[in-house]
Subunit: 362 residues, 4 copies
């Protein structure tokens, strides 16, 4: 009820602040007999890890995950999986100056208002550090998906940096690992590099748009009214730090379409399977997966940690100007890509387990 857990049958609960001794989570609901090792999780954490190039915060976290329970002899046992990541790079001194001042655009002020106290070091609980646990839980979700729906794959990309969009005709998934932006358009990626260098050197920041695509999703995932698959995905994505908008399929473009242009027509394929002729629905109709690619886009705002001083107040009610001199991300949308992938994996794993329980026929 305090909102530190996500999912119903595949459910994980996280804890930990940016500058405490450790962060961790409990992943519950994983069926037994699924192979799982620390390396299965570490590979995704490494993808997310900041400080790997000049375009993400230079905070250096080892982010080594330990499995504390729920796995025996390399297999899940059906019991809860405890995961722990020690915090190693906690330069608290960087944050001393925001102890009493509220950074505009951050959660500092509302935490203080809501709770009457806040761990100001590195943003505490509101820090993006928490997303490491989403990635870890997402790695476990991928193993569940692999066991139950081996054909399913989840891939994320950055499709817009500030005003600069990719050319969708140039989309090539193999490029996403070849540039620091998870950008599927090599030409755009090259242009973004110079653009973001300018932002970075100015101590400024910029927003972006991330797209996550799940292919091979079984037909029938999603509960039809309030737990629609798209509703749960919207919540999953909007819960990621800095996200301000979520679209499924055509998204906001659907608002300008007519019924004729928007409907995805159906035919029978040569393989005897139903074939959709387009995918404006983004793989979800009536809240239920259609078997087409599930396509989600999220708008990520620029981080408010910038060098330019901005008007704010302090804890005593004085008007102050605040600028952030610590390490920060010129474009946090980059780091949102593996996190959004993880949230997709978690949401699908949850609905896949729900599907096993409830849809049926005998």
């Amino acid at each position: 009820m305090s909102g530190n857990a996500f999912g119903h049958l595949f459910r994980f609960t996280t804890f930990g602040e940016s500058h405490g001794p450790a962060i961790g989570c409990v992943v519950d609901g994983v069926p037994s007999l699924i192979p799982l090792t620390e390396a299965d999780i570490q590979v995704w954490l490494d993808k997310r890890k900041p400080g790997q190039n000049r375009f993400t915060t230079q905070r250096q976290e080892a982010d080594e995950v330990r499995i504390l329970s729920g796995v025996f002899q390399g297999l899940t046992t059906g019991t809860p999986i405890g995961l722990l990541i020690e915090n190693t790079d906690q330069r608290s001194k960087d944050y001393g100056e925001i102890k009493d001042s509220f950074r505009p655009g951050h959660a500092d002020w509302v935490y203080q208002q809501k709770y009457g106290i806040r761990d100001y070091r590195g943003g505490g609980r509101s820090s993006a550090r928490e997303t490491a646990l989403r990635v870890a839980a997402g790695a476990v979700a991928r193993k569940v998906l692999h066991a139950l729906a081996p054909q399913l794959s989840i891939r994320g990309a950055m499709v817009q940096m500030g005003p600069h969009r990719i050319d969708r005709a140039a989309w090539d998934w193999s490029k996403t690992e070849a540039n620091p932006f998870w950008c599927p358009d090599a030409t755009a990626a090259a242009a973004w590099e110079g653009y973001l260098d300018g932002i970075r050197k100015a101590g400024s920041s910029i927003g972006g748009v991330v797209e996550v695509v799940a292919s091979g999703v079984p037909v029938g995932l999603g509960a039809p009214v309030y737990d629609k698959l798209d509703a749960d995905l919207a919540k999953a994505m909007m819960s990621i730090n800095a996200v301000k908008g979520v679209e499924i399929g055509a998204g906001f473009e659907a608002a300008i379409l007519t019924g004729e242009d928007n409907a995805d027509e159906m035919r029978m394929g040569n393989d005897g399977q139903v074939k959709f002729l387009s995918n404006r629905a983004g793989g979800i109709l009536g809240g239920i997966s259609t078997g087409q690619d599930v396509v989600v886009r999220l708008a990520v705002k620029p981080t408010s940690s910038i060098l330019t001083p901005k008007k704010s107040i302090d804890i005593h009610g004085n008007e102050v100007d605040v600028s952030t001199k610590g390490r920060h991300d010129p474009c946090v949308a980059i780091r949102a890509v593996p996190v959004a992938e993880a949230m997709m994996a978690i949401t699908l794993a949850d609905h896949l387990l729900r599907f096993r329980a409830q849809s049926g026929g005998f």
Copy 2:
């Protein structure tokens, strides 16, 4: 777990199909001693009711709500409130022809795949008829909000019809009740009338964008990680039929902003209260309400019930062409306005009760 309930402390569970004997819901978690009558609910149902002008489906439902429990001598008792609405206008004959054919863009086919059975009459459970219950529960939520946060108000508007946007400078809330579109820009509303007549006469349909604004929201609502206020609003809105995108505050525009342009600066007001100089955050930071207007926008796709035949298949796997001759909405976004208002009320009521339980200090 089957997704027919929403909310945690303020929680409602709905049941009923478009063409069954009745639809209804249980609203649970309402504190005691709040004044509540059937008229308090009916007024909002009447706002939503279709068939009131030529721009919504001509289905004629009385939509008379009965309170079956939870209210005694005009006051809530703290026990669950049962609400019932009889279905009166069930012209099942209109739907006979889609008994075996799947309308492209509808949930018909996925329901059949997921459940192996579907109530095809009027869309069954996937019908927008279910949204009457959201409006009814929303009316109860408004009473809870009124008791706990009397200054809070929730208003919705349609801000875009197809490609035609309102002029935001012309926004006038008093206009939303003066045209059939809940449009706050009188000039736009006039233009939309002719535009939508064309769509309607052609048996076509068009999408739209709805905006809901909650003013007077107390600071501190929202749980910081997975149950962020914006995450719960995203789920609430995306669960509404035909919604394909959700934005908070600047939304997708935030992706093109720099950190300098995006941050909402703070000053101290003359009244000793913190004052934000802008509201790109849409009233929510770090998942917690700031006290500014909470602003949500949703993209609504055009209904797929159109006269033009579209390619589809039938239940036997034959390729067929499907068109919808029954009553339908040329722009379902219109009817989404009171539903989105209701979901806003419900989400805020839920978080207000959560706030009472958990935030604090002694």
Copy 3:
């Protein structure tokens, strides 16, 4: 969160007061394609219905259930099942005198304290009338169990009335339908008849013990720590009005046993199946069903609605004497039998659906 729902995957939510227009519930999570008619539910309601002999309250309720949704052409559709029972026999005049006085041993006073208001007519929400909905939901649960585990059966019996216990050696299930007490021991039943007539004529009441046995329960139901099958059964049974104690298997007798006497030894049966040599565990080990009979006993207190005046207070803080002259049950344990059976069915159905989702191996 207000406690008007039970179960997780098989989940039902009830509403309604003793003297409102109707009571009802939503049964959610029922898989599709399960045959279900109103008659399937009515048969169990008729078993529970009061007023069928002189040993239960003479309130006459038709208790006719209507299925409002979730069933199409005789089969469940996977959507929520709305059930409604009109209240027909609401002699409110009987209850006028307790409007301002609190009956000792009833919930009157605590409701007034907790909510500041109460529907005093017939006990309102705290009335045993609510248990009709448990029986209705239990009937649906039985259909789910029948579809998923056809060999499973659930039977209840009354094994003690006041100080008078049955002779367990005389246990004969066929007798439970042959006397007004669901008593499996015909000799005891005959003796109880005279005993209870005395209680009834004196305007007094007496407690009793109910036992419910589920046979054919699949191995493996129950989640190992907090949602142990026995923990969920304990909650289910203790939630029934007037229940003050719950035992599994040997129950409180286990406290006086040694480890040697308590352990249920195992051998291999001729059929290649594991065979337990005793069942002191009551069919549950470590919170998980063993395949043996699941055996639960519940202690039911005597109703406090008695003729003898008892010391109490009124709403103004005056000391008064209260006696109940309205219709009442001399031994409410009798009516608890079908309710306890229903709660067993519901709990098992819930865990059976959970088992489908989460236990496994690939």
Copy 4:
């Protein structure tokens, strides 16, 4: 849904096996600004710790708890509290011989059946080791209770060892800390010592009955139908390892009482407060606390880890005889006392937070 969490608003989720690297839990929903240190938790863990006298298992665990999050400068911050206890004394060799054999009366066999795998070392997840986390979470719950209801106290006692009951007239709370059994009757405690020595030396075990009393509970806790305070307590207590029965107040004795004898009469006290003349209800009416002592008793079975060989089977289906030579408890009821106290604290804290949210009036 996998049952590793308990509570709704005060909610904790545990993980960890007896012989993994560590066990831990996340305590969520704790309001902010409550003082909390590791010492506040350690004191209760030390009470529970085995190996402190010859009557509990000689396993030696340091059971040192670390707070990993949710506390800043000695105060709770409203964010989840992560707790970790390293496993230090894991003599896996003691358990090698039960790797392939199922101990009768243990969860070994059902885990293997349910999950197809089990961590056999020390009982894995089904080990009583998990109860250390309940005690830790219970310590946090006590701090919440202390902040919200300072007058509330929770005390547990053992009231029966095997067939030997205490003399209730000799009840003296101060004695519970003066003997190894938490026995409130000094004479009984002395007798039990010799009795249990006999059991222990014989390598046998014996059951017992534990009673937990909460005094100073505010009126009005408990949700009236399915989440009755007694129902939630029944679940809480029955979820403790080895518990086979739960009673509230008069419990099973209520079955033999008449309505006249069972009703707790009410008068006005000199202080203007309502006074009950007896407490057969155990402080709960209609599922709601009355302000009297909340009294719960639980029956604890003898551990099945005994020296005497008992008939069983092994993983290959062979019939074998199993005896347990490792460290074990002659009377596990002793160690259940602090665990039951903790579950009482947790259940009350949860309902106290729920009360803040939902009961009310304006």
